[in-house]
Symmetry: C2
Subunit: 199 residues, 2 copies
Amino acid sequence: MVQYAKPLARLVGEFEKLPGIGPKSAQRLAFYVLRLSNEEAQTLSDAITEVKAKIGYCKTCYNFTDQEVCDICRDSRRSEANICVVAEPRDLIAIEKTGEFHGKYHVLGGVLAPMEGIGPDQLKLRELLMRLQDAPVEEIVLAMNPTVEGDATAMYMAKLLKTLGIRVTRIAHGVPVGGDLDYADQATLIQAFEGRREM
Amino acid sequence: MVQYAKPLARLVGEFEKLPGIGPKSAQRLAFYVLRLSNEEAQTLSDAITEVKAKIGYCKTCYNFTDQEVCDICRDSRRSEANICVVAEPRDLIAIEKTGEFHGKYHVLGGVLAPMEGIGPDQLKLRELLMRLQDAPVEEIVLAMNPTVEGDATAMYMAKLLKTLGIRVTRIAHGVPVGGDLDYADQATLIQAFEGRREM
C-alpha cells in the first residue's frame, strides 16, 4: 500500500486518533501542517504542550483553569447562593454562552455509570458537599444531559441534597431528549433554564 | 462572553485555523487534548514539529520525503519510462492507492493560475524538463484535476512536451468534472487511468 514518509505517517496517525477525524481528514490536516511555516507549526505544537502543562482543575468547582481557583469562582459579582452542577467543563461553557446563569458552577467530571465503574466516589460529589458546608447555598440547579445516566445522576443528587434542606432544581427538558447539552442552541438552553422545576 | 483559561483559548484558536475545523470541533479537540495523558499530548505535539523538521521535497520528483530522494524515485522495480504528473502530493497518494500505475511521478506543486500569480515558473516544470534530458521517458501521464486550472495546465504541458517527441496522455474524465481528484474513489481512478487518451 501507499507509504507516507515516516514522520508524515506518524502525524497522520496522531490526527486520526482525534475525535471526529477520519483517515482522509487526518491526511488533509497533515498536509496542511506541512504547508505551514515553521513558526506556525511550532505555535500549534506549543499550544498542545502548554495546555497540558498549565491547565488543571479549579480547586473549588473543578472546571478547567490555569490558576488555583478559576475566574468564575473568584468573580464576586456572581451569586454564591446558586450553584449549577454540570457533568463536564464543555457543558459549563454551553451554559455560560447563554448568559442566563449568574451563580457559580460545580463540575462533576462525569455522570454515574455503574457499568463503567463510575459511582459517586468517582465524581466530585464529596467536594460539592464540602462546598455546601462553607457557603450559604440556596439553590442547586442540576444541568446534566437528559440521558439515562444524566437522569440517574440527577435523581441521586436530588435525593442526597434535599436531605440538607437545599432547594434542588433541574433544567427543563427543552434540551432534546437523548441529545447532547454541548450541542444545544442557546435559545433552547435559555428555555431549559427558565423552565427548571422542583425535584 | 465565555472565557476559556488563556492556554485553552490559545489551543482552541490554533485548532480553529485547521481546514474543516469550526469553533465547536476546535473546542472538542482541545478538551480531548486536555484529557490525554502528558505523554500522549507530547507525542501529538512532537509529531507536528517533527514533520516540519524532517519532511522536505524529493529532489527528483518533488513529492514529500524525509530523504534526499523519495522511496518511489529510488524503487528500481518501477518504470523510468513512464512519469505521471500531478499537482499535489495528495494526488500522488490517491493514485498510489489504486495500485494501477507502476512508473514514477512528478509533483508540480500546484496548477497554472495566472489570477493568483502562479505561472509556469512557480511550478516544478523546468525540473521536469531537466529529468527528461537524463532519462529515456516514453510517456507522460498528466493527472491534474479536471478543473479549469487543471485543464489549462494539462494543455500547456501537452503542447510543451510534444515538441520533445514524448507521448503525452491525460487520465480520462472518469473523475467527476469539477470534482477533486483527492476525493475520487479508487474504482473511478482506475477507470480514469485505463481510459487515458492521446493529447
